[in-house]
Symmetry: C2
Subunit: 145 residues, 2 copies
């Protein structure tokens, strides 16, 4: 039940870009990488995937850089996580094929699938915009144990 570092960095990179969304000034890879404590090649691995899924746009050349490609309201955590982790499913019952020989006996199976769905729903609720907004509204932590 652990997120990979790439998902986490991916979100943080997107949050950087979301903050300057609207301006047409691309952020330089170098700047983002060093702000987030990443080496440039590692940063590239992450952003290349974000680009492949068209969450970011790139501007090449000597004043190039990266831009958020869609409005922050339309980018959810679910989308981000699935880029790096693959489908959010707690169990992969014979990947690809839809029928498992044991399925009929397997009460457990449907429980995991239902939970996976719930998790996906929760992830889909959170957008870049909502994160940025929440962060601006409060300097306090949003929850207390």
């Amino acid at each position: 039940m652990n997120l990979s570092t790439k998902s986490r960095y991916g979100l943080r990179i997107l949050l950087c870009l979301a903050k300057s969304y609207g301006t047409d000034v691309p952020l330089k890879g170098k700047a983002i990488a060093s702000e987030q404590g990443l080496t440039e090649p590692y940063f590239e691995q992450i952003i290349i995937k974000l680009k492949a899924h068209s969450l970011v746009a790139t501007v090449r050349g000597c004043h190039g850089g990266y831009l958020l490609n869609r409005s922050p309201e339309t980018i959810s955590l679910l989308e981000i996580v699935e880029i790096f982790e693959g489908p959010v499913e707690l169990v992969k019952c014979r990947k690809g094929t839809s029928v498992c020989p044991r399925q009929s006996e397997c009460a457990a199976q449907s429980v995991w699938h239902k939970l996976s769905r719930t998790i996906r729903t929760e992830l889909a609720k959170v957008t870049l915009a909502s994160i940025v907004q929440e962060n601006e509204n409060s300097d306090q932590p949003e929850y207390v144990i």
Copy 2:
């Protein structure tokens, strides 16, 4: 976002035991293992942890075996999953220590923690009893895509 096989087998083993809860007849390890398609030593690795957390009780000797140690209503998926996966937390920010130097700048952090909490809540809602019951009530899958 993948559950380990041990969590999954753990649940299935517990469901076996839950079905015969109330009778005082212990289920033999061999029987459970072969029913679930596990080798005996591998089964043992799993059940030993369930025992260590006192979810199951054992009866030793030549008519021994395993019994559910608590009522199925009181055993939740959260408890089972945490036995095998550790704490359900999407991110581990400097394990052990509570403060992370980057935390203040890290809007992402609180999002992951909130989601982790939600997931824990959902896991806690499902008990062995509810799974067994749901499974008896319907031969149909409980959801449709």
